[in-house]
């Protein structure tokens, strides 16, 4: 798919997310906006999944380990036609189908529940191991937050994955540099993050997490070891007053802010 078309989908996904946050008055819009291009490329181009058969054995699997970005995943699934768009309306609300953090029993294509950080890489590792042992072709892509890399369990999985040479396991770290109560550099400085993964035996790429070509380049490469993309992203990407702001980890837009943000998104799609 051409990058122009992907860009249009990404803008639509941000529109969906914005509306969901307006309606539900919930948090994490910044965390959702930083991963939109990654999700767009995965669901419109990279992942081999069958819309009619979500559990097909040889499928590619995507694990959103930073489960607080759930709205971005739901919006992407709706934009890709994998779930009905109407389902987005009940996000985070009484009687809705879509919880704030992922529940694998909620809708199809949610491969694993998530919400507590530091779980997804281990689960993805188990899936990649199952594929390796059964000579099944499907690859596993796990998306982690950079703040999530504070969790010790992430590094337990990093060690084991390279030891097992799980070349079908791909990790993208969404490095938006802001976590729950401060800048990642101020809470626990992770830099140089790529060097840490490399020292643990992974092949490391670093790139712009909003650039389709750079994400595509990473996902298409083959290797004999697991690979990670340190994806530099902007928290709140796409709406100027939400970008790089800790406040927008928590806030939901007022009606006025919604209109202003929507106008910016509409402008970017022209």
């Amino acid at each position: 798919m051409g990058n122009d078309q992907l860009t249009r989908h990404a803008v639509n996904i941000r529109r969906h997310i914005l509306k969901m946050m307006l309606e539900s008055k919930s948090s994490h819009i910044g965390s959702c906006f930083s991963i939109v291009e990654i999700l767009t490329l995965l669901y419109f181009e990279v992942l081999k999944i069958e819309p009619e058969n979500p559990l097909e054995r040889g499928r590619d699997r995507f694990i959103l380990s930073k489960g607080h970005g759930s709205a971005a995943l739901y919006a992407t699934l709706a934009e890709a036609g994998l779930i009905p768009e109407e389902q987005l309306r009940g996000y985070y609300q009484d009687g809705g189908k879509l919880p704030g953090h992922l529940d694998r029993f909620s809708i199809p294509f949610v491969e694993s529940s998530a919400g507590s950080l530091g779980h997804g890489l281990s689960i993805g590792l188990g899936m990649a191991l199952a594929s390796q042992r059964n000579a099944v072709s499907g690859k596993v892509v796990v998306l982690l937050g950079d703040g999530e890399c504070n969790e010790g369990s992430v590094w337990e999985a990093v060690m084991l994955a390279s030891h097992l040479k799980l070349s079908n396991l791909h990790v993208i770290v969404d490095c938006n540099r802001i976590q729950s109560f401060g800048m990642t550099g101020e809470v626990i400085n992770l830099d140089p993050l790529g060097a840490k993964w490399k020292a643990f035996g992974w092949e490391v790429d670093e790139g712009d997490g909003h650039d389709f070509d750079e994400i595509r380049f990473f996902l298409e490469k083959a290797a004999s070891v697991p690979r990670v993309l340190i994806a530099n992203t902007i928290k709140g990407k796409g709406v100027s007053f939400m970008e790089n702001s800790l406040e927008w980890h928590y806030r939901s837009p007022s009606d006025e802010q919604y209109e202003k943000a929507l106008a910016e998104l509409d402008g970017s799609s022209n």
Binding site: S113, H119, A130, E156, A157
Partner: protein, 303 residues
């Protein structure tokens, strides 16, 4: 119990290629046979229990029935939140297998003792809690767990426990097993205190007390019907477990009694709310922690 477990699992693995065994670097002299026979369905995940449970979830989401093996505190408490979210919440076909019930690792110290595991594991939705008291119960309940998809915790002792049930006894999940019938007192024992309960039963019978000995190898789902029958009969009930008095078998039975709302004489024998700082064998620590004192209750209340 450990050897019975692994022999049973190996037999099953020979018939069912969905069985996968993950260990967190435990099982020296126990798991080598499995690793040799089914290397493609074995993983030593290293000394990293949180990851081991998460990996098990990934394997289960790919179609395996996964057994995760370690010493009890490490396969239940160290990774409890992974057990809660990855295993129980996702309702996956994962059996957590812990060795070292109670003070099995007596002289190793309290880090290796398991006295809170039943309480925390039975609080989790979807989690079955299975605490066999002899090798027959181990074999039977491992077979039943294999047939029954979903999360479970299997609490094992160590090795060398005597068989109390006759070989070939069929035991269901959630079934109380009456070992001796009696009408003066009911003793309900679980896990590795079954042998002690049998010994006391014999002593009471010498004294002319008729004791009904019941083994309760499944704590969850609990055999409420069996307990309600004892309540209906007005039988005094004594529970016996090598576990904290908070949250284990005694608590589970007390909940049934409270729910029934009928008076019944009842006593829990278990570990008081404290850690052991004693150094010594399982039997020694049991003695120091008050588990070996045969109660004179309810004899003194006997008409």
């Amino acid at each position: 119990m450990r050897n019975t477990f692994i022999r049973t699992l190996m037999d099953l693995a020979g018939q069912d290629d969905r069985i996968f065994l993950v260990t967190a670097d435990m099982g020296y002299s126990v798991l080598e046979g499995f690793r040799g026979a089914y290397p493609e369905r074995f993983l030593n995940a290293g000394i990293a229990e949180q990851n081991a449970v998460g990996v098990a979830a990934g394997l289960a989401l790919s179609g395996y029935q996964v057994y995760v093996y370690s010493i009890i505190p490490f396969v239940t408490m160290r990774c409890f939140e992974q057990v809660r979210v990855d295993v129980a919440y996702q309702n996956l076909d994962i059996k957590l297998v812990g060795v070292g019930a109670g003070y099995s690792y007596g002289p190793a110290g309290a880090t290796h003792h398991a006295i809170e595991d039943i309480a925390i594991m039975r609080s989790l939705p979807n989690m079955r809690v299975v605490c066999p008291g002899d090798p027959v119960e181990v074999k039977e309940l491992v077979l039943r767990l294999h047939e029954s998809a979903g999360p479970a915790y299997l609490r094992l002792g160590k090795n060398g426990e005597p068989s109390i049930h006759p070989e070939g006894t069929r035991i269901e999940l959630g079934q109380a097993m009456t070992i001796r019938s009696g009408h003066d007192l009911a003793v309900i024992a679980t896990s590795n205190m079954l042998e002690q309960a049998l010994k006391w039963t014999g002593e009471w019978e010498q004294e002319g007390i008729s004791v009904r000995l019941v083994s309760m190898p499944t704590i969850k789902p609990l055999d409420r019907v069996a307990i309600v029958e004892m309540i209906e009969e007005g039988l005094p009930i004594l529970t016996l477990e090598e576990h904290s008095r908070i949250g284990g078998l005694g608590s589970a039975v007390a909940e049934v009694i409270a729910d029934e709302g009928k008076p019944v004489r009842f006593k829990r024998i278990g570990i008081q709310d404290e850690f052991s700082h004693h150094v010594g064998s399982q039997q020694y620590v049991r003695g120091k922690m008050g588990l070996m004192n045969k109660p004179d209750w309810p004899l003194k209340h006997k008409p």
